[in-house]
């Protein structure tokens, strides 16, 4: 019997097709998925009168940055950006303190009730985020924290997902390391900080990227706990801006949309490999 290589192109070959077809399929799909963003980018660089053309113009005939200038006059998007960065990093920094501590305990120490307690962390990982917004809103209200940046961070400071990922990483560090460290007088928290965390660096980076992307994009929670533009994040700022503009001025609306997405997308394009590896790795383990 004739052997065939296990590739898709081999199968296409049998059907009388070749690698070119594979590229064509992928090219078409990629064009379709990329089109919405390029169309918005193009719109954001157009004059208003150039938007209403019978035939769509992908390249702005009179490119301008005026829409972005107008955007900043019409709503404090710079402030929204600062708020978003503060909230996202405020969440991550505390997560990176609480999660390694808990993960270390579950990975390395034996104690009564460890299985049950770890289960508690796992349940939070599976919890649909929108299932707790009503009671959490009431809690934040009772604490007098409504309309603060702190309110947007507080519920995310403990992450079952981070604990789960880090526990896996810590468990892969051989026992010998711990014994050796112990002889050098390095134990407990110092062992966690100087040995375990550096060895788990890929996991820490993966989780950090996912946390940043998740909370940069948060919507419902910031929407219900904020009330004033002074503390709003980019996504909420965009939503309010859309309502205030009630449509029509598409170039400025698209400038706002592009501005909200740009920081993360640029980071993603520069550190593509790291982002893709992180989402792959953490997703698979999750």
């Amino acid at each position: 019997m004739r052997s065939r290589p296990a590739t898709f192109s081999a199968a296409l070959h049998r059907l009388g097709l070749n690698r070119l077809l594979l590229h064509m399929i992928l090219l078409i799909v990629s064009t379709i998925t990329a089109a919405p963003y390029f169309w918005a980018l193009s719109t954001s660089l157009k004059l208003r009168r150039d938007v209403f053309t019978p035939v769509p113009q992908w390249i702005p005939p009179n490119p301008t940055l005026q829409n972005y200038v107008d955007l900043f006059y019409m709503a404090p998007f710079g402030l929204f950006l600062v708020n978003t960065i503060l909230v996202v990093s405020g969440i991550l920094v505390i997560q990176l303190i609480t999660a390694p501590l808990a993960a270390y305990v579950f990975a390395r120490l034996r104690f009564a009730g460890s299985g049950f307690l770890f289960g508690l962390f796992l349940v939070q990982m599976m919890m649909p985020i929108h299932a707790v917004v009503v009671p959490n809103y009431l809690t934040i209200n009772a604490m007098g924290l409504l309309d603060t940046r702190l309110a947007m961070m507080l519920p995310f400071w403990a992450s079952g997902y981070a604990v789960f990922l880090l526990r896996q990483a810590f468990r892969q560090v051989p026992r010998d390391f711990e014994d050796a460290a112990l002889i050098d007088g390095c134990s407990g928290l110092r062992f966690l900080w100087h040995v375990l965390l550096p060895l788990a660096k890929p996991t820490v980076i993966a989780f950090s990227l996912i946390s940043v992307v998740t909370h940069w994009n948060d919507f419902l929670w910031p929407l219900i706990v904020t009330d004033s533009p002074a503390v709003r994040t980019l996504t909420i700022g965009l939503a309010m801006f859309v309502q205030q503009e009630s449509g029509a001025d598409w170039p400025v609306l698209m400038a706002g949309t592009i501005f909200v997405t740009l920081p993360l997308l640029l980071l993603f394009l520069v550190y593509q490999r790291k982002f893709i590896e992180s989402f792959m790795y953490a997703g698979l383990k999750g």
């Binding site: 019997m1 992928l26 799909v29 169309w39 918005a40 769509p56 299932a131 707790v132 996504t235 989402f279």
Partner: protein, 293 residues
């Protein structure tokens, strides 16, 4: 000999996380159930115990059933399409493609990086009935103008399209990770036996990817039941509540009408529904997996 310090330190390290988990995950679960048994709204500012009255009102309201139906339709349509696209793209991208592979991967994955809110705005613009790109290109195929987000029948499909575009790249990546872990020897052996490409996909790839599929299904269900941002920005639940979904309905009750009792009852129904759907699907998938392996 373990010192006292060694014996209490595990609990000490867990305290920060545990306090937060109890306050913002466990207490809320119990409190939702508790509040759902009370009347608590603008007219009754102090919670008043009413038993299951909120649930009775809810289940007697045709709008609730409309919302539940919308949500289930949304979940049942978006998940299979998203998964199929993700799987096919992953299988194609797992081939040797040279430097272009990275470009394809970025094109499929970048929507994961942008906020749902921004995705909603991109598509509101594309779906604009008068000067939107989609109607323009459809017109060149002779399709008459569709009112998309303003049309009773097209609004929900339009939101589903946006969601599929936004989400499939993430699941594609998960499938790619799964594919890269498959043992190459099996494929070589199958080739020696003369198995063709589609045979191998059906007999090796799909069964071995079953654990990945279970993961994708569970994450997909949780993600799609949580749909809110798209609805809030694209249709506000309209036209005629045709795009109103559970989380949006919770939001309306709790934060527009300040009806916490009803909002909590809806939350409980929401969680029970997700758990039920996950359990049923796990049963089905388990059976399928056993047959194939």
């Amino acid at each position: 000999m373990r010192t006292v310090n060694q014996r209490i330190s595990p609990y000490l390290y867990l305290i920060p996380s545990l306090i937060l988990l109890v306050a913002f995950t466990y207490y809320p679960i119990l409190s939702s159930v508790y509040i759902s048994l009370h009347e608590w709204n603008l007219f009754t500012p102090e919670p008043k115990f009413v038993g299951f009255e909120n649930y009775t009102i809810l289940f007697g309201d045709p709008l609730f059933w409309r919302v539940a139906r919308n949500t289930l339709v949304y979940v049942a349509v978006t998940i299979p399409i998203t998964m199929a696209m993700a799987l096919i793209m992953a299988i194609l991208l797992n081939e040797r493609l040279g430097w272009l592979r990275n470009a394809y991967r970025v094109a499929a994955f970048y929507p994961t990086m942008i906020p749902m809110a921004a995705a909603a705005m991109l598509w509101v613009w594309l779906l604009n009935p008068g000067i939107g790109l989609i109607n323009h290109y459809l017109a060149s195929f002779g399709v008459p103008r569709i009112e998309w987000l303003y049309n009773m029948d097209w609004a929900l499909p339009a939101i589903m399209m946006t969601a599929i575009w936004k989400n499939f790249g993430y699941f594609m990546l998960i499938y790619l990770a799964g594919l890269q872990n498959l043992p190459g020897e099996l494929y070589e052996a199958a080739s020696l036996e003369g198995a063709g490409f589609l045979h191998k996909v059906r007999l090796i790839t799909l069964p071995l990817l079953a654990p990945t599929t279970v993961f994708v299904v569970v994450v997909g269900i949780i993600t799609s039941f949580n749909v809110f941002d798209l609805v809030h920005l694209m249709t506000q639940g309209g036209p005629g509540n045709r795009t109103n979904v559970l989380v949006y309905y919770i939001y309306q009750h709790a934060f527009r009408f300040a009806d916490y009792g009803m909002g909590s009852a809806l939350t409980v129904v929401f969680v029970v529904m997700i758990l039920a759907v996950i359990l049923v699907l796990m049963r089905l998938l388990e059976r399928r997996t056993h047959y194939e392996v």
